[in-house]
């Protein structure tokens, strides 16, 4: 064997992983970001320096300074405090949609996995079609049909997220229903329903949660896109997508209004993805 092939094999076997240390640092950094975002979402007043809604026309469009860390917007509101208060809404909608999508996906997918073939096939065809489109486009179509508004945006983002979970839940249910420990439980006389709930569902839920960690990011992105278009929450609510849309109009004079909420979105989504990938690697035994 040539020497160049050897590290390749080693990498495949997971023997030497020099990248592991830096990967761990990245994972901890991502967890730290998510922790800060969580505090911002739950206790915004701990971090914010100003009232996110208080306007002060004399202090409009001020550049970032010690008094206003991220500057002020057109109405003189503190951008830093608005970013902090925006976390609850922007991340909350992503969490809510992902949580709901996970539950719906679990129920539909698990039932589809054990349902008669015709029902299963129909459900899977619909999921296939929905999976062929990016989440944002599906969410946009749903909002187009339901009409604009924060509730409809939440519904739309949830619907857009569901298909992935349905698909995974079905696959997992099918393979777990045939797993040895489930069969053993059945042989020991555990009723079918009980075996399903006690031994199949928890396993499926585990895989879905890993996927959900990554999915939160795309739900946040889809929701922010809809708010940016003005289809979700309305002014003066602090919401990251909406703030970006307000900042777009004064980009020539005040870049900070449209830059910092975007940094917040990107950092949150990148961190959620990194943590999700870490969890997945661990679940697959590669961590």
């Amino acid at each position: 064997m040539s020497a160049s092939a050897r590290p390749d094999i080693a990498r495949r076997m997971g023997v030497s992983r020099p990248a592991n240390a830096s990967r761990r640092v990245l994972l901890w950094a991502a967890l730290a970001v998510l922790a800060v975002v969580a505090v911002m979402a739950v206790f915004p007043s701990l971090i914010a320096t100003h009232d996110p809604l208080r306007t002060d026309v004399r202090a409009a469009l001020e550049a970032p300074s010690p008094a206003h860390l991220f500057g002020t917007d057109q109405s003189g509101r503190d951008v830093f405090s608005r970013v902090v208060y925006g976390a609850g809404r922007s991340v909350g909608i992503g969490l809510l949609a992902t949580g709901l999508a996970l539950v719906i996906g679990l129920v539909v997918g698990a039932l589809s996995g054990v349902a008669p073939r015709a029902v299963d096939a129909t459900a899977m065809r619909i999921t296939d079609v929905l999976l062929a489109f990016p989440e944002f486009l599906v969410a946009l179509v749903v909002v187009a049909i339901l009409g604009p508004g924060p509730t409809n945006v939440a519904i739309a983002v949830t619907i857009a997220a569901v298909p992935v979970y349905v698909r995974l839940a079905r696959v997992q249910t099918r393979s777990l229903a045939l797993a040895e420990h489930v069969e053993a439980a059945r042989i020991l006389g555990v009723p079918r329903m009980r075996a399903f709930v006690r031994h199949v569902v928890p396993g499926v839920l585990g895989s879905l949660s890993v996927l959900a960690t990554i999915g939160i990011g795309s739900s946040i992105l889809a929701a922010a896109g809809l708010s940016f278009l003005g289809l979700g929450p309305i002014e003066p609510s602090p919401e990251w997508g909406l703030m970006l849309s307000g900042g777009r109009n004064v980009l020539g004079t005040a870049w900070w209004i449209a830059v910092f909420p975007g940094v917040a979105i990107t950092l949150t989504v990148v961190s959620a993805t990194i943590v999700g990938r870490g969890l997945r690697a661990r679940a697959e035994g590669r961590g």
Partner: protein, 327 residues
């Protein structure tokens, strides 16, 4: 031999084409039916929606409008006349603009087609360049990191950043407008970046998987360099994976166009869609949904036809299967 095998080859191909055509019709019919049902399930009277919340109109006038639009007829009758109209290429009339929907979409289509096709070209070129020239572990790691950040950033924020740096900051490009051809550059790059990142990821995954195959070692042993190995051998594998994503990528271009057109204040299908959503202009929304379904179907059709070109095994398997059937 050849003349005898021609017939069993032609027949399955015809069957396959018929199957594809049938699936096209079914998807379009499904989308049309879904749109029809959706607008009858949601709450709200279409006529009141159409007139707007402030309109002071008597019930008699509303009934007149309803009769004009055929909304007073039984649902099934409405459904069939709607399908019949669609077959004739008639998507109805916009509530707000008082123009045929086909005209509303047709007028704005050009701008969006220009933007999305330029973005697609940029994305493919970027992804290919990265796949070919990002070789070592370090450069691949950097590329993967950049891709992660781009895919995690809202596309409209990328547009805002490019605008503030290259239009407002450096003044290299105009801020908005349509007359100057240079106005399309920043929007197209904005739209292209996330697509390039996704395409790049898929290409790289396919290429790396192919490089682990024993035959890749054989190619290397014959003295081929990295770039040659990729360009002549492994890229094909990556491309096959990317092709399965074609419809998804077109979907992200369409969805992204709505955001990018808003950021850069460009005309186009995205703006039409957005104002139709905020104005509840149901015929236009239906038209846009049906148009997207059509695009989706056409892209999938092209992909189906391209697979055998890219993957010679598919050509051979077809023939082998045919021979078994013919024997």
């Amino acid at each position: 031999m050849r003349s005898r095998s021609a017939d069993p080859v032609v027949k399955p191909v015809l069957i396959r084409i018929a199957g594809l055509a049938a699936s096209v019709v079914i998807v379009l019919w499904g989308a049309a039916t879904l749109a029809f049902l959706a607008f009858r399930v949601i709450p709200g009277d279409p006529v009141s929606v159409m007139l707007g919340p402030q309109a002071q109109v008597s019930e008699a006038v509303k009934d007149g409008i309803r009769a004009d639009l055929g909304l007073d007829r039984p649902p099934l009758e409405q459904y069939f006349s709607y399908l019949w109209q669609l077959l004739q290429g008639n998507l109805g009339e916009s509530y707000q603009l008082r123009l045929p929907v086909t005209e509303v979409i047709g007028r704005q289509l050009g701008a969006t087609v220009q933007l999305t096709s330029l973005a697609l070209v940029i994305a493919v070129v970027l992804a290919l360049a990265v796949a070919l020239f990002a070789r070592g572990r370090v450069s691949r790691g950097i590329v993967a990191g950049v891709e992660l950040v781009v895919l995690s950033s809202p596309v409209f924020w990328i547009g805002i950043l490019l605008l503030s740096v290259f239009a407002f900051g450096l003044g290299w490009f105009p801020v908005s407008g349509t007359r100057n051809p240079a106005t399309i550059v920043l929007p197209a790059i904005t739209l292209a970046l996330p697509v390039a990142a996704l395409l790049g990821q898929v290409l790289r995954d396919g290429i790396e998987a192919a490089e682990r195959q024993p035959w890749a070692t054989t190619v290397r042993a014959r003295g081929a360099g990295q770039v040659r190995l990729t360009a002549h051998h492994t890229l094909r594998h990556g491309a096959a994976g990317a092709l399965t994503l074609a419809a998804y990528l077109v979907g992200s271009l369409l969805g992204g166009a709505v955001l990018v057109e808003t950021v850069f204040a460009r005309p186009g299908l995205g703006r039409v869609t957005l104002s139709a959503i905020t104005d509840r202009d149901l015929p236009v929304i239906t038209g846009v949904i049906l148009f997207s379904a059509l695009v989706f179907v056409v892209v999938n059709l092209i992909v189906e036809l391209l697979y055998p070109v890219l993957d010679p095994r598919l050509r051979r398997i077809d023939v082998r299967r045919v021979r078994e059937v013919g024997a």
